[in-house]
């Protein structure tokens, strides 16, 4: 078994682009679910409209890269408003079902043949990251170092995405930290604890929930940009409901209602997933594990994600850093 490769990919995954984009989207979920108690199961839709907003602006309309970013951000904010109006009056389970339905509608429209000219059908869109890479200050080449025998190197284009991504994560965490210390943040947390009490104090609960949905959606949509820019393409099926479920796993793993919870959660999630995948597929290839084949080993790691989510919620719903009293998981 090739342990060097396994450890190399695992260590790289702790800071890699997957972690960056999921961490950004998870910070959004943390604002929705962790702080406000909104069960938004449609976070993948925010990532999708951002990624597609950028892709369609650049490839179909031929506008520059930064216009695409602006359009993506506006699209995410509009989506949050549209999603919020019918649902924010409703109870948690209705909200969950409707947000998941909205996300599915958006995915199905993006992958439909009827709109293939705009969204590219199930193949998605590609070829829109040139404008971003043109800003890349790193000259061509691989950057990194050797950790003992383990090489940890990133190509220059990936490094550029990672640097921007981690700066965004730092910025978002700082914003969340400041906001949640502010009176505004205290109202959000109060809504999570007891909506009626907040309403009786004269606060407009609907408006606060909507602001939370827009803020979390816009931060989450940054994850969609990072996906598009890192892979140079967007495909509709990347933004399925399972993506949202993985985001929830990360938030709960790290600790909901904690500033760094989703970031730590995303890092741990990917480290574990990549380590598990590398070990399993290497073990299958080396003939150590014989009862499954390589594709089944790929599925097996998601079995562990499901099992992990169950065990987390049963034994430690507050995750690693969370506080049990601060999570909106009780009946409302």
């Amino acid at each position: 078994m090739d342990w060097i490769t396994i450890f190399s990919t695992t260590i790289k995954s702790a800071v890699g682009v997957e972690t960056v984009l999921y961490a950004l989207a998870a910070i959004g979920i943390n604002i929705h679910f962790g702080y406000t108690g909104l069960l938004n199961f449609g976070q993948a839709a925010f990532m999708a409209v951002a990624g597609y907003g950028l892709a369609v602006t650049v490839t179909v309309m031929g506008l520059p890269f930064w216009v695409g970013i602006v359009i993506g951000l506006v699209a995410a904010a509009i989506l949050a408003l549209l999603m919020g109006i019918p649902t924010l009056h409703l109870r948690a389970d209705y909200l969950a079902i409707v947000t998941i339905a909205v996300a599915e509608i958006i995915r199905l429209v993006f992958r439909s043949v009827a709109f293939k000219d705009i969204f590219g059908g199930s193949d998605g869109q590609r070829g829109f990251s040139g404008g971003f890479q043109a800003l890349n200050p790193f000259p061509e080449g691989d950057y990194g170092f050797n950790l003992g025998p383990i090489p940890i190197f990133f190509p220059h284009w990936q490094l550029w995405v990672m640097v921007v991504g981690w700066l965004l994560i730092a910025l978002c965490c700082f914003i969340v930290f400041l906001l949640m210390k502010s009176p505004w943040g205290r109202v959000l947390k109060a809504i999570r604890e007891d909506e009626d009490a907040v309403r009786s104090l004269g606060k407009n609960v609907f408006s606060y929930k909507m602001q939370s949905l827009v803020l979390g959606g816009v931060i989450g949509c940054l994850g969609g940009f990072v996906y598009g820019l890192a892979y140079g393409s967007v495909q509709p099926d990347v933004f399925g409901t399972e993506t949202t479920f993985f985001l929830y796993t990360m938030v709960i793993l790290g600790g909901a209602a904690r500033v760094f919870g989703p970031v730590i959660g995303a890092m741990l999630f990917w480290v574990l997933l990549v380590l598990l995948n590398g070990t399993l597929s290497e073990a299958v290839a080396a003939g150590v594990i014989t009862f499954i084949d390589t594709s089944q080993a790929g599925a097996l790691r998601y079995v562990f994600v499901g099992l992990g989510l169950i065990l987390l919620l049963v034994f430690r719903p507050q995750g690693i850093f969370g506080d049990k009293r601060e999570i909106a998981i009780d009946a409302r």
Partner: protein, 430 residues
Amino acid sequence: MRRAVIAFTAFLGGLVFLLVGPAHADPADCQGLKGTLTFQGQPVNGARIAVSTEGGQPVETVTSNAQGAWDVQVEDPGRYRVTLDPASLPQNTEIRGGNNVRTPTVYEGNCSSVLFALQAKGAAGQQQGDEAGGSSSFWTQAAQLTFEGLNLGLIIALAALGLSLIYGTTGLTNFAHGELVTLGAILAYAFNVGFGLHLIPAAVCAVILAGILGYGQDRFFWGQLRRRGTGTVAMMIISIGVALFLRYMYLILFSPQTESYAQYTAQPGIEIGPISAAPKNLVAMGIELLVLVIVGIALLRTRTGKAARAVADNPALAASSGINVDGVIRIIWTVGAAIAALAGIMLGLSQNLKYTMGQDILLLIFAGVTLGGLGTAFGALVGSLVVGLFIQVSTLWVPPELKSVGALAVLIIVLLVRPQGILGRRERIG
């Protein structure tokens, strides 16, 4: 609690044993091309497919079998030309997009799937439209789609009834309900193809086993969680974990391909007035209707049914008036899992089996339940029929790939106007 987790694992372990044999019944070494021709969910028999090398050397010409499947084994990996003879297709079908040649690549030791999507002649999206047919063909099509919508609606209703009852009695929004639907289909497949039982006894066995597993799931897992006082939102997220877990277990144990049962796969449709229907669909609809009526009567007339509705209304009050709430919930889980399994078998019969079939239909089940009003048993029936009909009939105007979009959009609009659903009560939405 630890006991609960161990028991849950053991229950899944049992499942593994049951499924592991039949799932790998066909690991045949394969190097070539294969595909399955279906038209509106029905296999297409006797279509002629010619395979030649890229240079034009003919390799083999085959016809699709009763399951609509065909395959051609080739000696060397490389690019091949696959030609489907349009003249060999049934009269009323044509190839979507019109192109009858595919050029797939065969890799060493792998089978590549070749996709030919079939559609009704002159269907939407084609330029050659059927103005000549005019309104009569529109109404024929509408009648046919209404029939198909009822078929789908009844399947959704079976699954939705269980979901709604479980929600009503325990407050759990079960995201793993789709996986219970898949479970029924896969268990029936295991008995049918794995152990060689005829489909009807296999289906009966699958439904009974699914009921037992549903009982076990509540007895050893959800019931234990309720006893610990786990909140409803926590349970909802746990059910997502269960759904992920089960779905990928199915992928490992079943297969990533679509499969079909050994019997009743290709039935020629019979004409009833303007609609053409395979006899199996008529029988399936009859069974579904019968089960729904029986469950409905049981809810209205039997002591257990009344108790179930009482628990759904107010668990604390029901308990204080002497109803064994846990017992009732356990019966609900057993029945709910069994009828969800039946829905899965029927879905597998009218379409195909796939490990994601439950996931794909889950949102439609939710749409049905929410439309009718969360927690109301009869609301779920009405809502599901509306969803099924809407999905199929909307394809008169909407491209078929977007038919679910319409149903989900209607769900959102109804929630805007009437948040409690069609038969729901105002106070339930909180």
